[in-house]
Structures are given as structure tokens and as C-alpha cells.
Symmetry: C2
Subunit: 303 residues, 2 copies
């Protein structure tokens, strides 16, 4: 404990996970401005949109335009645009726009997968196999939803997570992201599950997607760091609250993550002041309660 | 890392540190009701008031009544009422009401001590010596303010903290509490400072008073736990925000602390549901923005 890596990757998910929770359609130009500001702040990997059906999530109706614009604009840059895809159709659309790495979500909990995606885990895995076989150039990140807890199952057994990852690996995923979908993970659990995954699958890149719903976003991050994780997904401003609990925090805020890591001497490549400027842009243009802390805290020049 | 104690002490400071930040006078009966509810929830050590001059903090004008009532009512119980005292006069008043353990604040940073208490560190230490010599039965907890950062100095050198503790020990303090007064500590720093204090003074009981201003309250708690600390000060609802940054969090919320520790299998003796009922009482009676997370999050019966 208290040995940390010198650098970690902070993957921004606000333009996907954050925006999709906003009811009012955000103009495409505003989305592109926020994405551009985040990249200028130093973000090097970002979920820029989601190729879901616009009837399911109207906010993401401009997915193709967002993805095409970002892929064209930053193709020379050291920047990796990600998109969430729910199925092969979405993956093909994303690929056509220039996306070469996608996030694909399956819940560790069968009941949650049915409620969330209307598929069994096995059905989700069949679709995953069709994506990886039909689009061999496309990297797929497996987002393991409800990895730490499920509204239906309660505590999720590690075995459910491990079996899902194994099935994903057999179908060609390139990265695993353990997601605390409802924000109930605790640091001990994060540490232990990460260690279990690392032991079972030592070669797969592993990321964490931790929510701050119960104030443990950064504590769980610390546990993940201590276990050796070097990739964390966050959302600018903390965008992406829990839709079932107004006012409750959802995603851990990018600016809170960057501030903590910077204070600990862990580089992220993201400039905190520029990141806070993005929070202000979000405030100016989007009607949302922002739950990130750094946007409200005093700044001290000497700290 | 990730070995934790089976039990820690959560010291409630809401009725002192929280209430003193509330402008409108809280009726004494409401204060006593909240204190009673906290004790019923399982709190076993609590700062119940502050014996400051009522001109300085009118909210604490009923200190003697609060302290006397609580000391009389719970003298049989396994409960330790604490009071903050700024000087010998306050300590004598507290003692007269039945208080046998007080918190006395000195800032590690000389400039902050002058701004906060209008005394140099040396002047504060002279007053401390008069308290411990005139009231030998009174236990004194030394609250080391700005232990991790100061608005004037910036990062506070460990040496300033260590020298203050040494001076306090020479004057008979019984406990040291390292306070992150402005909420700028980070987990690495907490771990390192705790270790430094333990190494220099292995026999003094050590507590942490961590703020959640930048979202690191529980992450810093985790670092403290990892370093061996087993006493943490928190405030119900997160009462006690930063007066300079409206909306920003101040104290780490008791309910957030209890929830995390319980989830990790660390006993606190505090019942989470009863603690959340106190949060509701605070909401019902006190006009304050509560920054604790658990009061806003969904509850799951099975988690």
C-alpha cells in the first residue's frame, strides 16, 4: 500500500454516459465543442457517443455525425475515440464512421442484463461473437456491468464476473472494464475483485468504471490503484447521475479524479484548469445537476 | 494494503463543527434531540458543543446547557461527550458542566493560527499548558488544524505538524487529531503523514478529521485505515461546509463513513438506518445544504 504508478489513463465517458442521461437534446455543435475542449485539456481516450437506436435514446441520434466529425478531425492526433455499441448493427455503423474501438456492455447479473438490454447473457455473447468475427479490425472493450452489485441480485458473486470475462476473451475482446453500475462497490471489494480478475486473466488490460453515488468513487479508485489498475473511466462534471435518485451522484467526476491523482504525483496528461473550464462549458450549455466536487471547491494558487 | 481493522471509532462532530456553521440559532431542544438520536444510533464519542464566547459564535451560546444536560443524561452510559474549548476559561466551564475530555485547536501553520484564533502557536501552547495544569483530570485532544494544507502556506511541511505534536505532548495532551481543515489532503499525503507521526510518537492515540471538499474524504479515510488509524471524526449529513465556498462539502458525512466501513466489514457500532434517520431530522429542522451522499442515494434491501 501506498505505492502508486507514475501515470494512469483517465478515459472520459461524459459525452456518452453523461449526455445520454440528459433529457433535452444537446445540440451537436455543443457536444462537439465539449469533446474538443476535453481533447485540448489532454484527454486521450473518450467515449464520444453511443450507436444505439435513436428511438431508445434520442439524445444519441447524432451518433454518426459526432463520430465521423471526431474521427476526421483527430485522426492525426494521439487520440482514441471510443463509441458504445449495443449490437452488430451499431458496431458496423461505428466502424463506418472511423471508430476502431468500441465498448460493449454485458451485465454480470443475468437479471440486470435482461432488464437493461433485454437479452440473456448468452444472447449478448452471441452478438459479441458476431461483432468480433465480422469486424476483426475493431477492438472491443467489454464493459462488465453490475460487476460489484445489482439491484436484483444484491452482491454479485465474483464467479459471475469471471465467467463473463472468460466468455468475452473467447470471443476476442481486447479490454475488460469492471463497472460499478449502481455505485455500491466498496474499496475492499474493488481490491479483491481486481486481484481475482488479474489472477485469472493476467494478460488482459483492465479498467475500472466507478460511480460516486455513495461517496466512494475516489476511495474505490485508490483501492484499484493499489491493486495495480492504471485505467479509470470518469465523466466531466460527474455528468450521468443515477436516473432513479435525483441529486445523487453517478459517475466519478473527471476533475475530481485528475485532482486527486495529480496531488498524489500520478500523471494523467489532463490539465486540471482546462478540465474545470470544460465543467464551466457544461454548466453554461447543459441543464444538469453536476455532482463533481472540484467545480464547487475553493481553488488555492499555492496548493 | 487491504488489511483493515475489525473495528474503528467514528467520532461525531456535527453538533459542534456542523452547528457552528449554521447562521440561524438552532433551538437547544432540537440540538439535544439530534444528539440523543445520534447516541441512540450508536455514536459513543461526540463533540456536543463548543465553549467559545457567544459573541464569537452565537450558535454556541447554549454550550453550558447542552453539555450539562448531555453529561447528566448519559453519565451511566458508555458514551463520552466532548466539547471544544478555545482557552482555559472555556475548559473550566466545560469541566464544571461535567465534560472530562475536550478538543483544543492549534494550527500547524502559524499564519492560520493567527487568522483563526488570533494567537501565535506559542501563545496557544501557553494556554494549553494552563489548561492541563489547572485541570489535571481533563483529557485534552489536540486538534492539529491545517495539518495537510493551509490557505496561506500552501502545502504544510510535516515538520510543522511534528513539532506541534511534540509541544502538545510536553503539555499533557492525551490524543492527537490531524485535521484537513480546508479539504486539500490527498491519500498519499495522509498515509505518509500518519506514518511519520506514528514513527515519531508511537504511543499517542491518533485520529483523523478529514473533509470531503474535493471528494477525497473516504479515499483519505482509506489511506488512514491502511496506515493504521482507527479513529475518524465525521459530521452527520456532512454538516459543516466550507464557509468560503457555498455548495462545497466540508466534513465527511457520518452516514457515508459508516456505510463504507460497514460494507468493508469494519464495525463502527453505528446503525446506518438510524444514522440516516438523524440526517432526516437535520433536514427537517435545520436550513443547511447537506453534502453527504447516502442521504440522496437509493437504498437496496439486499445490498
Amino acid at each position: 500500500m501506498m505505492e502508486f504508478p507514475s501515470r494512469v489513463e483517465v478515459v472520459e465517458v461524459g459525452p456518452r454516459d453523461g449526455f445520454q442521461n440528459i433529457k433535452t437534446f444537446i445540440p451537436t455543435a455543443v457536444k462537439l465543442q465539449i469533446i474538443a475542449q476535453l481533447i485540448a485539456a489532454g484527454v486521450r481516450k473518450m467515449e464520444v457517443t453511443s450507436f444505439v437506436h435513436p428511438k431508445a435514446i434520442p439524445q444519441m441520434a447524432d451518433a454518426a455525425e459526432i463520430a465521423s466529425t471526431v474521427c476526421a478531425k483527430y485522426q492525426e492526433a494521439d487520440f482514441v475515440p471510443l463509441a458504445l455499441v449495443p449490437n452488430l448493427v451499431g458496431a458496423k455503423n461505428a466502424y463506418r464512421c472511423g471508430i476502431r474501438e468500441v465498448a460493449y456492455v454485458i451485465s454480470a447479473s443475468e437479471k440486470h442484463n435482461l432488464a437493461n438490454i433485454n437479452r440473456t447473457r448468452d444472447q449478448s455473447l452471441v452478438e459479441l461473437a458476431s461483432i468480433t468475427s465480422e469486424l476483426p479490425d475493431l477492438k472491443v472493450r467489454l464493459d462488465v456491468a453490475t460487476a460489484f452489485g445489482c439491484p436484483f441480485l444484491g452482491r454479485v458473486d465474483d464467479g459471475l464476473v469471471l465467467s463473463l470475462i472468460e466468455a468475452g476473451l473467447q470471443r476476442g475482446i481486447s479490454t475488460v472494464v469492471l463497472c460499478d453500475t449502481i455505485g455500491v462497490a466498496n474499496p475492499k471489494q474493488v481490491y479483491n475483485l481486481v486481484r481475482a480478475v488479474q489472477n485469472a486473466f493476467p494478460n488482459i488490460p483492465l479498467g475500472l468504471h466507478l460511480h460516486d453515488t455513495r461517496g466512494m468513487g475516489l476511495a474505490n479508485t485508490l483501492a484499484g490503484l493499489a491493486a495495480g489498475v492504471t485505467s479509470f473511466e470518469t465523466s466531466v462534471g460527474g455528468l450521468g447521475g443515477c436516473p432513479f435518485a435525483p441529486g445523487a451522484a453517478g459517475n466519478t467526476a473527471t476533475e475530481d479524479m485528475v485532482n486527486m491523482l495529480q496531488a498524489m504525483g500520478v500523471a494523467t496528461g489532463i490539465d486540471l484548469d482546462k478540465c474545470l473550464a470544460v465543467v464551466q462549458t457544461v454548466r453554461d450549455h447543459i441543464q444538469a445537476e453536476l455532482t463533481g466536487h472540484m467545480g464547487k471547491a475553493c481553488r488555492y494558487d499555492n496548493l
